[in-house]
Point group: C2
Chain length 735, copies 2
């Protein structure tokens, strides 16, 4: 008999959590007819806190074990990566609900305080992804979304062949140039050491590595970086175009703020020359953006403040215009390191026809500065491509899916705790426990040294995933790897070792350096052909935004699947985050505009996996997936996504439409007549009651909603607010 | 009244000189009817020698003055750049003809000997081009040649999308990275100084420069170069493809042999490790190629020779295969530095579908190694382009003309005497006569330091030429300049200064970095659109071969015009040289296979200039040009080019066809009926006597010819041999 699969649905925070109150009963009651259980597990911030203090089971820990079992099948909705203030807020709310929780100890002194702090620390920051993401990534556009985009193309700005925008990158001195890489020959411990000019050794870090793991080290010369910024800024000035810098300080959170800081040090050079002493006094840290200066300026006497402001004014006159994040509010590219995030900002410039907003609110050409050649050259390729061949046409382009090497903190993804800033000129080297020096780099004081470990098992799983997907989708796979780059060369060796282990009949595969891979992919893309990019961590991250933004206007509509190494699957939704503002609107005026499209699409994939987990015996599960996919197409085509304003269709109404289309598709399918019979009356009732249901929902719009808590709502209150249509609830609950 | 223009025809050496005996009477007698004189001037090796010793006027000196006058209009046929042995040969021949010439003093001692040697030195090497080339270059495919190629496309090899061939270039440490550049602010003298670690200064060279001249300095790190070769050779090995190196040791004759030598030092590393002492003993110089080792090996005892040969065998087994110049004879890429010349060799690889010959005589993919990024990135762009879009189709592609900055030894063209190899670690700096340091470079012992001067007037003339040609041809012009490269930035400044001085109505212009310029140009090229590349010296040189080879199969059929700065024109023919083997064949068996196509095409252009020089009044000159151009089309279409073997059509017969077609075109044109009347009987007689003329010529095939000298033939004998058809001569001479 077929195994009965269980899909885990995660209880999270804010808008997607609210939407779950309405959506979960629908999916649960639909798929029970295919013998699939849907189980709710709580990974919300409040849930994690309560679990730490024994008020409820630790669902995250449970899932952490489950992901290493082949039966794992998890719908992962977006949750809060809590900052300390958010945590304190959540604790306060829970205390007010009667939970006996200790206050958050900001500065723990006693053993007890330290223990409490340790528990809270387990709730802060990005704690869910590292536990659940035990696999590489598989990102793509689901067919209904692609079809919708082809029928209703979003607007992309025309590109002038005379555009002076271009991608600038370093000639030398970057991470790309200095990378060294080794494949570990036997399980060992490795340590990073700094050796100063006198031979004194400081151990910076120590970790265990296994046979086959790939260890890289590299550094960026700060001197060369600043010379580069100087040259690019001068070039922008000479050409009369904007200067823009694109890094990813959110992900590369140790290295990239420093690169960002150097851009400030060079662009605002005059500021440091004239007021260096004062800036130091008030503790201005350029790595935090110019906002840090604004925040600290009041520490200086008013006349000094004026002088500094005057100097800044002068700088804006002398230097090229800055790319603006928000020209209305005067927020520049250099305001805050996290405002301009490369994976979104470069595609935006492309989308805007290689134009960007300048300080005066007009658009200009711009230098797109991406210092490191590891990532810059592929952007250069696409930017020059649109200059020469014109803007992309979403109705004609193919799709570019992505298989990303991400498992077990692979590559740059896991480099934060191995990024060092040498305290002096000297050498940073990696030494194994037998004392062998695996590699060393001569560095200068302040250079950015970065090291990554990529686990053997993660790499092999990634290769397997690429081959599997190539076969399933019948698309060529391109490994974006540069055989003249040290890390990539080690990966290429493994690929050449692994590939012959598979049946490659019908698998078209390539290994190409990123710029060449981009050229190859773009040619297919423009000709309407589909391609799978198989990339390492950072390129994965950048590409999974780039192509979706061109294809369908946003990466939020892309599927994000983590095929788990152990065989299960993790289906991520909601690239846009958990949307606090949506909750505020709902509480204030009873309108929720969270679009559950991501959940619908992910659930199609979860069902497909459930079918496999059933031993490929229970065809009903496939029918569920297939009909849901068709329902989603109609949902998009008839534009039943929630609207922004109160009184318009909201999340709850959108769920009605999804349920109705899905029921109709199930009723109309002929493969399983018995299943069709079950859903025929449902479809009929939903259609007959359309007006009634929608007006029951609409009646609740415009008034405030009490859900009994922001982080930890009262289930009954929240359910009542999210399921206001008795008619609809009756149809669903009686299924 | 219209000025009566004079076209200079140069008397040169070997095959083109022989062809002149037959061709000159034809053109002279045709164009006299348009009021154009054709004057012969002797720049042959023998002529230069005789002039030095007072036996005839110094025509080269005369032309050296003429090129600086607006009335200059010179047909420059290929002449011998004499080596010493050739000079000695020529002197011997002249002495035997009765000229009282002194022997060549190999090692002059007395004042008299030194004076003699000084005179002979003026005849050695490339002494003609530097005198005559007082302008930038304008290279393109003449319309008849382009039409012919479209109708009769040459074969280009298919490119597999799976090709692993690629262009490898340095990540850092190359000329591209280190370049500095200044524009001179006032006339001054500058000197290059080497400063050692102890502050000792050596002056390396001193020259005068003028206001506005651009002075560059840069260097290539030999350490980085060798690391690069090591990486590329390893990559070729891992991929199982050939290693190939592409430089231009003939033109960059000081720097490039050293780059070549380093490739040998790395590829044959084991040889130096095992036999370093012996190699030093016999004075093996890798910069001269492996042939230098072969030449010197006999100095060693036989058993040592065997050992060394064995090591070389081992190396060939361990290292990747080498790209072969001649696999039948075992001549590798690294045999001689002058065998593989980048401007021809890279296009050949492209033409062959990215395949090259390996040691076993089979073709393989290959790493195309072009160390410096100044030139490599554009090759990378075209190579990746054909991988992605497939081979070019000569029947469909557009044309890419080239305006090259070459005048007054511009750019790398004039760098030989400013290329230095620092004797030790230290600094090379450029200092003006006021002691200002214009730039300095920290170099290591043996690094390749290179400096160039580009004259202000040459740059401005080049910009003017680009604008002029853009208007004449109505094609976009693209300046291939990288705003992040120091030299290019100085040029861009001048362009931005100069362009507004012209009426740019209808001129479409771009400034693009080489790789982007290539992308832009290729897109047009593939779509059948024409583009003008406006490039500096080295790129000029590389591009003027690349596109003609793709378009028409060879660059020998491209027009090479030097619009002289003073307003006149120099029309160069014969990219294939002066062809000594053709002369040997003619003397031996009376068959000359020199194709005068280059002269025909150049003469069309010379006539067009003559028309301008006539004050644009004498339309008959234009008719001459136009009809000649049509005649050339028919000449190509009916395949009247000389054939290789005795008994087939040769140069003399090909001249008959040219004359006949030209006469027919003149007779058939209606614009100038009087001129048509002159040529109608000529055309008729030439047609009627076809069989007779051709058989009179054919009758002389197969027997030896006495022309009375190789370097200095007897005019009467040579003329008799080259004009064997009485019938034809009568028609021509009576014109």
């Amino acid at each position: 008999m077929a195994k009965r699969p269980t899909i885990i649905w995660t209880k999270v925070d804010e808008a997607p959590m609210l939407a779950t109150y309405s959506l979960l009963p629908i999916v649960r009651n639909f798929v029970k007819h295919a013998g699939v259980d849907v189980e709710l597990r709580d990974i919300s911030l409040a849930g994690r806190i309560l679990a730490q203090f024994g008020y409820q089971p630790d669902d995250l820990a449970y899932l952490g074990e489950l992901v290493w079992k082949p039966e794992a099948n998890i719908m992962k909705l977006p949750n809060i990566s809590a900052s300390v203030p958010q945590l304190i807020d959540a604790v306060k709310e829970l205390q007010s609900q009667g939970y006996d929780l200790p206050d958050f100890p900001e500065d723990p002194q006693t053993e007890e305080e330290k223990e409490i702090r340790a528990k809270y620390d387990k709730c802060i920051g990005s704690v869910v992804n590292p536990v659940l993401r035990q696999g590489n990534s598989d990102r793509r556009i689901a067919p209904p979304v692609k079809e919708y985009a082809k029928k209703h193309p979003h607007k992309l700005g025309e590109v002038s062949p005379k555009s002076e925008s271009y991608v600038a990158y370093m000639k030398s001195g970057d991470f790309y140039e200095h990378e060294k890489s080794v494949t570990i020959e036997k399980d060992t411990k490795i340590r990073w050491e700094f050796v100063d000019k006198n031979g004194n050794v400081t151990v910076l870090k120590e970790v265990e590595v296994g046979k086959g793991d790939v260890v890289d080290g590299t550094y960026m010369s700060r001197k060369k970086l600043r010379e580069f910024f100087d040259e690019v800024i001068r070039d922008a000035k000479e050409k009369g175009i904007l200067f823009s810098l694109h890094v990813k300080a959110t992900m590369m959170k140790v290295s990239d703020p420093v690169i960002f800081g150097d851009a400030i040090r060079v662009y605002y050079k005059k500021l440091f020359e004239k007021h260096g002493k004062e800036l130091e006094e008030i503790g201005f840290d350029p790595n935090k953006g110019l906002v840090d200066l604004e925040n600290k300026l009041s520490k200086l006497p008013p006349e000094k403040q004026e002088e500094i402001k005057k100097t800044i004014e002068e700088i804006y006159k002398e230097q090229p215009g800055l790319y603006m994040v928000d020209s209305d509010r005067g927020i520049t590219n250099l305001h805050r390191p996290n405002d301009v995030i490369i994976d979104n900002s470069v595609p935006s410039v492309i989308k805007n026809g290689l134009k960007a907003w300048g300080p005066d609110g007009n658009t200009y050409d711009c230098v797109i500065t991406v210092p490191d050649r590891s990532y810059a050259t592929m952007y250069s390729e696409i930017v020059e491509d649109v200059k020469v061949r014109g803007q992309f046409d979403p109705t004609k382009v193919g799709t570019v899916a992505n298989i990303g090497l991400m498992a077990m903190k692979a590559e740059e993804y896991g480099s934060h705790d191995k990024t060092f800033f040498p305290p002096d000129d000297g050498i940073i080297r990696i030494v194994d426990e037998d004392g062998n020096v695996l590699m060393e780099h001569e560095v200068e004081k302040g250079d950015i040294y970065r090291s990554c470990i990529t686990k053997d098992i993660a790499i092999r799983d990634w290769i397997k995933l690429a081959v599997t997907r190539a076969k399933e989708l019948k698309m060529p796979i391109v490994f974006w790897l540069d055989s003249l780059r040290a890390h990539d060369r080690e990966l290429i060796k493994k690929i050449r070792e692994e590939l012959p282990k598979y049946d490659l009949e019908g698998v078209e595969w390539y290994i190409k350096a990123p710029k060449d891979a981009m050229k190859f992919t773009l040619e297919r893309f423009r000709n309407g052909l589909d391609t799978i990019a198989v990339t390492g961590n950072v390129l994965r991250d950048y590409l999974t935004d780039l192509f979706p933004i061109i294809e369908v206007g946003t990466s939020a509509r892309a599927l994000s699947i983590v095929p788990l190494i152990a065989g299960g699957g993790l289906f991520e939704t909601g690239a846009g985050g958990s949307a606090p503002r949506h909750v505020q609107q709902f509480v204030k005026e009873g309108h929720l505009r969270w679009d559950s499209l991501g959940e619908f699409l992910a659930f199609v994939e979860a069902l497909k996996l459930a079918y496999k987990q059933s031993g490929e015996e229970n065809k009903r599960i496939l029918i569920m997936a297939d009909t849901l996919s068709k329902a989603v197409s109609r949902y998009l085509d008839t534009d039943k996504t929630p609207k922004r304003k109160v009184g318009q269709l909201d999340t709850r109404g959108s769920h009605y439409w999804l349920a109705r289309y899905w029921a109709e598709e199930l009723a109309n399918q002929t493969e399983d007549p018995e299943l069709a019979e079950i859903f025929k009356p449902v479809a009929q009732k939903l259609a007959e009651n359309e007006e009634k249901i929608l007006s029951e929902i609409a009646a609740t719009e415009g008034s405030p909603k009490d859900i009994g808590g922001y982080y930890h709502p009262d289930d009954a209150k929240a359910e009542a607010a999210m399921r206001p249509s008795k008619t609809f609830n009756e149809i669903i609950d009686n299924l």
